[in-house]
Symmetry: C3
Subunit: 352 residues, 3 copies
Amino acid sequence: MNKIFTALVFIGVPLSVVGTFMHWSSILLFIIYCITIIALASFMGRATESLAVVAGPRIGGLLNATFGNAVELIISIFALKEGLIGVVLASLTGSVLGNLLLVAGLSFFVGGLKYKRQSFNVFDARHNSGLLMFGVIVAFVIPEIFTKTMTKNDTLNFSVGISIILITLYLAALFFKLVTHRGVYLTDDKNESRNHEEEPEWGTRKALIILALATLAVAYVSENLVHTFESVGEAFGWSELFIGVVIVAIVGNAAEHATAIIMAYKNKMDIAVEIAVGSTLQVAMFVAPLLVLLSLMFPVAMPLVFTLPELITMVTAALLMITISNDGETNWFEGATLLAAYFIMGIGFYLL
Amino acid sequence: MNKIFTALVFIGVPLSVVGTFMHWSSILLFIIYCITIIALASFMGRATESLAVVAGPRIGGLLNATFGNAVELIISIFALKEGLIGVVLASLTGSVLGNLLLVAGLSFFVGGLKYKRQSFNVFDARHNSGLLMFGVIVAFVIPEIFTKTMTKNDTLNFSVGISIILITLYLAALFFKLVTHRGVYLTDDKNESRNHEEEPEWGTRKALIILALATLAVAYVSENLVHTFESVGEAFGWSELFIGVVIVAIVGNAAEHATAIIMAYKNKMDIAVEIAVGSTLQVAMFVAPLLVLLSLMFPVAMPLVFTLPELITMVTAALLMITISNDGETNWFEGATLLAAYFIMGIGFYLL
Amino acid sequence: MNKIFTALVFIGVPLSVVGTFMHWSSILLFIIYCITIIALASFMGRATESLAVVAGPRIGGLLNATFGNAVELIISIFALKEGLIGVVLASLTGSVLGNLLLVAGLSFFVGGLKYKRQSFNVFDARHNSGLLMFGVIVAFVIPEIFTKTMTKNDTLNFSVGISIILITLYLAALFFKLVTHRGVYLTDDKNESRNHEEEPEWGTRKALIILALATLAVAYVSENLVHTFESVGEAFGWSELFIGVVIVAIVGNAAEHATAIIMAYKNKMDIAVEIAVGSTLQVAMFVAPLLVLLSLMFPVAMPLVFTLPELITMVTAALLMITISNDGETNWFEGATLLAAYFIMGIGFYLL
């Protein structure tokens, strides 16, 4: 797997550079960019992981939290710069749906084909449920309703206020998990055994260099990727919404998706759920509000107001995940249910 | 009880035939039709039960699933043929509300008057909660929002897509329950003791003949019943919506209602809940999408788009049931809460 | 604490009387009124508590339920008399939000700073979850949707019907808790130890006199307070909605807030939750419908139809509390989550 990604990076990056200068067809470039980003993302993931192991669980947790959605953040920043607010909100929606339904669904399904019942820490499940309810439902639904009669300026002020509260609570959640309540809710000795395995793949220096180079490359490719959206959309009959919700979301999270499913297949459901639900919470409570705040520096500011289809899919996805995960157990049918919800939403966004 | 139903069938069917030919007053015919269908439905239920016992639990489960809502399906098909899409959607809503709130409410209440605390399999409760969230909330709310801006054709395509996904997941749920995870989530030895009691009431042949005859009779009476809706609505000042949500739903499910309450009174809460929540899921995930697909053969196709009052009552009813049933325990007050919700909705549909 | 409140009563009541006659500035009077009501409310609370101890748990529970929200009820009745329906609905919303998010949030947070994990009766939590789902979600959302196309008269009829059902179910809940299922769901011997402490602070006669006098004084001050809303709103740029949701709600519930937080700090989470969630249920299922019924005697009748922002904040707050409290455990982070939700809503109402 890693070898394939290495090959893809060493082929994809030069091709991206050459293709951009040669003005190849948008569709070809779009495909090259997407594959290159997926391959680069896997390098960023491995570099972050190596640093996290060395830094210890507290700083490591912070690192993972910050770099876990770095690719998405970078793509989104370039889209913001172009004023493509619709694409950014759509790709945030797509990340939430992709993680909650596609990643978790595939993990539960694939894991469930091998094991009849799989379990994960029920306290984590409940902690995550509360955050999903807060981050996806309270913090996204309320601005939708309140800003209907607000001026543009108040809408933006409200969005900034909510964003600051979201980021603050997200940092508080990290503090809770990594400092005040670290190890309080353990149900068994999994934690210990997990520590044994952890050895950094790369030294700190190598990891830092790879992380920096991969991030730069991602930034370069992302900027170009954003420019292909319009022609690709026209060529395939895809709306801006569909590109954001489905394509960008899958490209931005592909590396994580693979890891989660592998972990589920190895019956390490705690990690699989942490990736799927943890990523969702990162996007909703950290990436989305951060982009709102960053957008203030760009010509067009982005309010935290999704379209109604985006909002409703995120809300129903969160409710479904809360209901399904609340007992700390999974099976193949729960995975199938999440996947079925993803298909319904996918068809909907395609037809919209 | 069975004798009364037998008498009602032998009086009601001839009366229905004679009355139809003699063009009796619509209101009188409406009452005769309703009572006859209720009596015929009890025969269909007993015939299905007998076949299910002989066929063993797997095929038996399938039979129950298919014939459990046969009466409703038949009435709905005749209503579809007349283009009464509003009545069909309303009666689907009424079935969901009637099963989730009225049947379950009465079961919990009546059972709770005799026993302080009654319990049922908590794993089934959670499994059902996930399906309610998917079938009633994800699959019904999303088309409501997405189709607002869609063309009529896309709305229908989306409805067909969702219907296929719903039926597929419903079959997967049966496969999960009857094949891959049969007996996996048992909490005690109830299953065994239940098997002892099961002896078919009728032989296979007799059951098949009764099932065929009763189904034919239901079809005949249902077709005529549908024609009385208009005059009955005018006479009593009932809207199409009220007839569908309250009257058709109660007539179509009367036999099941009685069984569920008797089971609760005997402290067999697993069966009572299976009838109430299981029927809801059948309607939402099998009958409703099947009617959407069947409607493609009729002059007016039916999209899976409910009116807002229908949708909101189903969503809140599902949320209330999920919250109340999630601990696998019931008492009289939980029953009273469900009934109170049903009354609120009933008044609402009456005033609408 | 009690001494401060006594001083405030003996200073505040005369100041209120003098200030009203002298026509002091509205803003000064507004502040005096608010502080006086808070101080008087603490006396009413202590008097009710004393009576409750003497009367035994059953009648005591009824007394607490009736007088617990007396101050709010009185302020609301005077606002209704003035035709300020918007303020009344807003202050009901504010009470629900204040109790569910601010009181419970502060209790969980403050208690959680001292104790890593605090627990309360999980059966009560589930019972309350069911009632929140019914009282806040079913009973408030349905009229919102149904009355959109109803005539004014039907809207009122529907509101009256729902109100009667709500009050009936609320009384049934008391009957369930105090009579049929008293002590059925105890998890430990907390109940016993709690009884030991209970000695009435005041004799029955003294308590009755204080309760009567304080109620009269609250009524007098409330009537005048209502008249200051308009000028205060203009002076500070607050909307009627903001005054109702934030100011009236905090003033009307200040005494209870203090008690809940103190209880949480003493690790008596059962009482803290009972105050926070119990008060919410009182407001939603008893005070709100009672005001609808009482409003029939006033020139302008009040339907049970909130504005969309009011409704959505209550619904999301209820969902958040149900998710967070369902395991019968709390920690500081759960408190922080509830507080964060309150801040988002507060900013929203301020900007609206």
